[in-house]
């Protein structure tokens, strides 16, 4: 049975179908429509005829009619990967499917390097090799954390491909796009409110961008909006506000959230309007974004409310009078009236007011004191924990290095310093992320030098990669100390894994000495030396690999 469309002429007097029918029935039951040679069995004669017919039909096959071909994938003008980088990506993706089994403990874990590879490749603005798109989509399907970078690298062709295979639907669902510049001309150069003739088919980039915005998949729209915002915040906002009224609530929320990265003061009127949105989540997000704009009217209203609650006494102490009610104005500005169970509603409201108050105001109100001095002021009654926690959230939201620094305090102090202050409100990792990268690394380095590695995992996670000095040195020293103390390396596997991915690859040579198997000390765990040697081999190997990856992805000069 062939899949071709035509049935060529059958040579013998019997058709192929007749021969098949005869074969099904059996020559013993009915004489087949063939003429045996003298002395030949009818079964053999049937096989002769079938052989002739088979070869003739196969030799005479004709092409089938072509079905419509898929619409061509949109062009992707980004540069192709250098060939070594392409081979590397193929290897990283293959390792994912091989699942790393059977490799020695001292070998680098390639799957863990994939996120970094993708980020770096996107940083250089490469496009994915077409042939690797299926493997890339499969990887992104299996690991949600890879999706934004994988789909960015995949670009328009990945989405094109995903539309043809139900297994890659996730790529079309959205929440996955990331701000990169799409191809030249895909971003509207002017706000789409500008009256231009509808359906200028592919003649100018402007209507292309607008058409994509109006008709595109959600993922494409998010990605387009982010890119447009990045390029020109006002133009991006105009794009969004043009269709805002017709968007679904969950889409409005996602679009609004995507404004966060490139938030600017001119967004205020739009956000202020969104405070009256039908959806509660949209209202809350709009309020949050407005409070991150210190000059906004909402921030001013919040500041006014907070000022009535928190004051500096004549004796230099901070007095707190929590709000007595949560009126409709407060609620419109995003204050959530109902506290989580176990919390008093007045302290809950206070926390939200302080959190949304521009931090500069405290200096203004407290006679020009700096953040460090204000944080050091005693707080009456037992309001310190609530007040400091709210300031921490404000410092993170408003990205204030000064306040983060003051609230973090000295890294050498125990994390739960202070008599009454419970450490729970402190989230050093979040506060750290508001500090400049160098200072962040320095703070964590000092923290590790004082407290060791056991509490450092989350802190290390917010440090910029590759780790700046003295952080890298601090981590390596701490690992060295842990080894000398005789513990097993897997007690530190989390930090070790981070170090593999985050240490400066230039450290590889310096770390080489650690790969030697040390003489076993008296109190060391049995065999620990060998395991440490393997762990450090893996660390050095991974660093060398990352160095190679970096070199491979660096665009050739000129």
């Amino acid at each position: 049975m062939t899949t071709h469309t035509t049935t060529p002429a059958v040579p013998s007097d019997a058709s192929w179908d007749d021969l098949v029918a005869a074969a099904l029935l059996g020559t013993g039951r009915r004489t087949p429509p063939v003429t045996p040679l003298p002395g030949q069995d009818t079964a053999a004669a049937l096989l002769d005829a079938a052989a002739l017919s088979t070869v003739r039909r196969r030799a005479g096959l004709r092409p089938a009619a072509a079905r419509p071909v898929p619409t061509p994938a949109p062009p992707d003008p980004r540069p192709a990967l250098p060939s070594a980088a392409r081979a590397r990506l193929a290897m990283l993706l293959a390792d994912r499917s091989a699942a790393g089994r059977g490799s020695p403990r001292s070998a680098p874990d390639l799957a863990e390097l994939l996120p970094q590879w993708l980020t770096l490749a996107n940083h250089h603005g490469y496009r994915a090799p077409d042939a690797l798109l299926p493997a890339l989509l499969d990887a992104a399907r299996a690991r949600t954390d890879l999706r934004p970078e994988a789909l960015t690298l995949g670009g328009p062709r990945a989405l094109w491909l995903a539309r043809l295979n139900a297994e890659w639907k996730f790529a079309l669902r959205g929440g996955v796009g990331r701000a990169t510049m799409p191809p030249e001309g895909a971003v509207p150069a002017v706000p789409p409110a500008d009256p231009s003739p509808a359906a200028g088919p592919d003649t100018d980039g402007r209507s292309d961008g607008r058409r994509l915005w109006e008709e595109g998949l959600f993922a494409e729209r998010v990605s387009l909006l982010s890119a447009a915002r990045h390029h020109d915040p006002a133009a991006g906002l105009a794009l969004l506000s043009g269709t805002w009224a017709t968007e679904r609530a969950e889409d409005r929320l996602m679009f609004l959230d995507s404004l966060r990265d490139d938030l600017c003061p001119s967004d205020e009127p739009f956000l202020e309007q969104a405070l009256s949105d039908r959806s509660r989540n949209v209202r809350a997000t709009a309020a949050e974004l407005l409070s991150a704009l210190p000059a906004s009217a909402l921030a001013a209203r919040m500041a006014e409310r907070a000022r009535g609650c928190v004051s500096l006494t004549a004796t230099g102490r901070i007095a707190v009078e929590a709000p007595a009610a949560c009126d409709s104005g407060m609620q419109r500005d995003g204050i959530v009236p109902k506290p989580p169970s176990g919390r008093g509603e007045r302290s809950w409201w206070l926390g939200q007011l302080v959190e949304a108050t521009p931090l500069d105001r405290w200096t203004e109100w407290f006679g020009g004191l700096g953040a460090a001095e204000i944080v050091a002021l005693p707080v009456v009654d037992s309001w310190q924990a609530d007040l400091h926690a709210a300031w921490c959230r404000a410092a993170v939201r408003q990205r204030s290095a000064e306040w983060s620094r003051a609230l973090l305090g000295a890294p050498a102090l125990p994390p739960s310093s202070g008599d009454a202050a419970p450490a729970v409100w402190r989230d050093p990792a979040k506060l750290l992320s508001a500090l400049p990268p160098g200072e962040r690394a320095g703070w964590v380095a000092e923290f590790i030098a004082s407290h060791g590695l056991s509490d450092a995992f989350r802190l290390l996670g917010v440090c910029a990669v590759p780790w700046a000095e003295p952080l890298g040195r601090a981590v390596v020293d701490a690992l060295d100390i842990a080894r000398d103390a005789g513990s097993y390396p897997w007690s530190f596997s989390g930090v070790m894994g981070l170090a593999e991915r985050c240490l400066d690859p230039g450290q590889a040579d310096r770390l080489e000495v650690l790969t030697a198997i040390p003489d076993e000390g008296e109190d060391a765990a049995p065999g620990a030396g060998g395991y440490w040697s393997e762990a450090f081999q893996r660390l050095v190997g991974t660093l060398r690999l990352r160095e190679a990856i970096r070199a491979e992805l660096t665009p050739p000069m000129g």
């Binding site: 059996g26 052989a51 092409p63 293959a94």
Partner: protein
């Protein structure tokens, strides 16, 4: 650089890996870290790789007549050490040129050199005597001429005994087929696999591996889905044709007899082939490669296309575990070499006789091979079938085709002519069609594959670098 004048790219090296796991493992060994004592001289590359055991592995690769040896216990071919060493060499650093190879490497390399020289010399000698003898053409049967040391009379008797065994096997299969047709295909109990198993075992006894493979295929057809009776009749008929061919082999023209013998599974030893056939020199482009395994034996197919002659060639090699299949030629490589075709009415299978130094490829030469259209592909298959009725497919470069996915099967469509070739449904799971689709992006591309009666089986696509379309096991399940 080596005397062949090329340094392979990392991609070409990776294309040699037998599977994804080896690719990854080789990649991990592509750093200088585990290696010591590496070097390259002439066609040889060697190095010592520290592994997990106490003894480091000694790896040596011969690029001249590509092959490798490694002291590791892996049965993968090539093993990860050979891949890692080649990658290290391909990266340009880590393998110094020009040193004297260590004894263990030199021993193997020189052995291979001598063997190559022997073969070349043997061919020349024999070509001379053949020209003198003239009348011996009809006697060039297996074991008939060269081979060197063996007693020709004993060899002839051995060949005769084997021919008798095969004839007995073919007759038995004929009886089995006639019984089947007499009883009717509809009467087949689909669970009757055991009967076929027995017949297959008899074909093994008859030393007819080609017949054994056909019997195993016949056994599988009744459970292969709709349309099986017609497919079963086709395959029964072709098996019958093969049996009849062998039973009347004395009446066949020499070339058709050779084709029949090859289909039965009687192959000419390479040394004998090199001795009796005329080499074809050309610049051969490696079009693609495919490994298939039946559990015991891995068969590697490498397809070549001659630049000057336009001829296709197929190099077959087998990995039985104790013997490395050769050669290791990465897809996209262009090599200046002498090939010797196995005698056949439609010669395709060939052996690599000798490689000549190839000047480095200019960038302008890194091109996609020229291809034909859909109708031409079917025509060349049809024509080949006239000469070898058992051909399942013929290697073809198709150009200007766009892959079209579909639930009822994929197509390679030519929008300019409105004609299409269906993709062979047996490709699912073996070929990464989605990769093919991604490379095309809805536009026409060039694809190499086999064009056969079930459709076209894609093997390589160009983007414009050659991309082998082998499905990785992890993605095998994707439809």
């Amino acid at each position: 650089m080596n005397p062949q004048g090329e340094r392979w790219t990392a991609e070409q090296v990776l294309a040699l890996a037998p599977d994804a796991a080896s690719r990854t493992a080789g990649g991990k060994l592509a750093a200088a870290g585990p290696w010591s004592g590496t070097g390259a001289r002439g066609p040889g590359i060697w190095g010592v790789c520290a592994g997990s055991g106490s003894m480091p592995y000694r790896t040596v690769v011969d690029l001249g007549r590509p092959g490798y040896r490694c002291s590791c216990p892996s049965r993968k071919f090539p093993c990860k050490h050979a891949l890692g060493l080649l990658l290290l060499w391909a990266s340009g650093g880590g393998v110094p040129e020009g040193d004297e190879p260590p004894e263990w490497a030199e021993g193997w390399l020189s052995e291979r050199r001598e063997r190559a020289a022997d073969q070349a010399a043997g061919r020349r000698d024999d070509a001379g005597s053949g020209a003198g003898g003239g009348a011996g053409a009809g006697d060039q049967r297996p074991g008939g001429s060269a081979g060197g040391t063996a007693d020709p009379e004993a060899a002839r008797r051995r060949a005769e005994r084997r021919a008798q065994r095969i004839a007995a096997g073919a007759s038995e299969l004929e009886r089995r087929l006639a019984d089947l047709l007499r009883g009717g295909l509809a009467a087949i109990d689909r669970a009757e696999y055991g009967v076929w198993d027995e017949t297959a075992a008899r074909m093994v006894d008859a030393q007819a591996p080609g017949l054994e493979a056909r019997v195993r295929e016949l056994a599988a057809i009744p459970s292969s889905g709709a349309g099986w009776p017609a497919r079963l009749l086709e395959e029964c008929a072709l098996a019958h044709l093969l049996n009849q061919g062998f039973l009347h082999i004395d009446q066949l023209p020499e070339e058709l007899a050779a084709t029949t013998r090859a289909r039965i599974g009687v192959t000419l030893p390479v040394a004998e082939l090199l001795a009796c056939a005329e080499p074809v020199r050309d610049r051969w482009l490696v079009l693609g490669r495919q490994d298939s395994s039946d559990g015991r034996l891995t068969t590697r197919r490498v397809w070549l296309r001659g630049e000057r002659t336009g001829r296709m060639a197929l190099l077959l090699s087998f990995d039985t575990g104790d013997r490395s299949p050769e050669p290791t030629l990465p897809t996209g490589l262009l090599l200046d070499a002498d090939l010797v075709y196995y005698p056949s009415t439609r010669p395709l299978r060939a052996a690599l006789a000798e490689r000549h130094p190839t000047p480095p490829k200019a960038d302008s030469e890194r091109t996609v091979p020229p291809g034909g259209d859909v109708a031409a592909a079917l025509a060349v298959y049809g024509e080949a079938l006239g000469q070898d009725p058992w051909l399942e497919g013929w290697p073809v470069v198709l150009s200007g085709v766009t892959p079209v996915p579909g639930d009822e099967g994929w197509q390679l469509a030519d929008p300019t002519t409105g004609l299409a070739l269906p993709v062979d449904p047996r490709c699912a799971g073996r070929t990464d069609l989605w990769q093919l689709l991604a490379i095309a992006g809805g536009r026409p591309i060039t694809v190499f594959g086999e064009c056969g009666h079930r459709g076209f089986a894609p093997i390589t696509a160009w983007d414009p670098e050659p991309v082998p379309l082998t499905a990785t096991p992890a993605r095998g399940g994707r439809r």
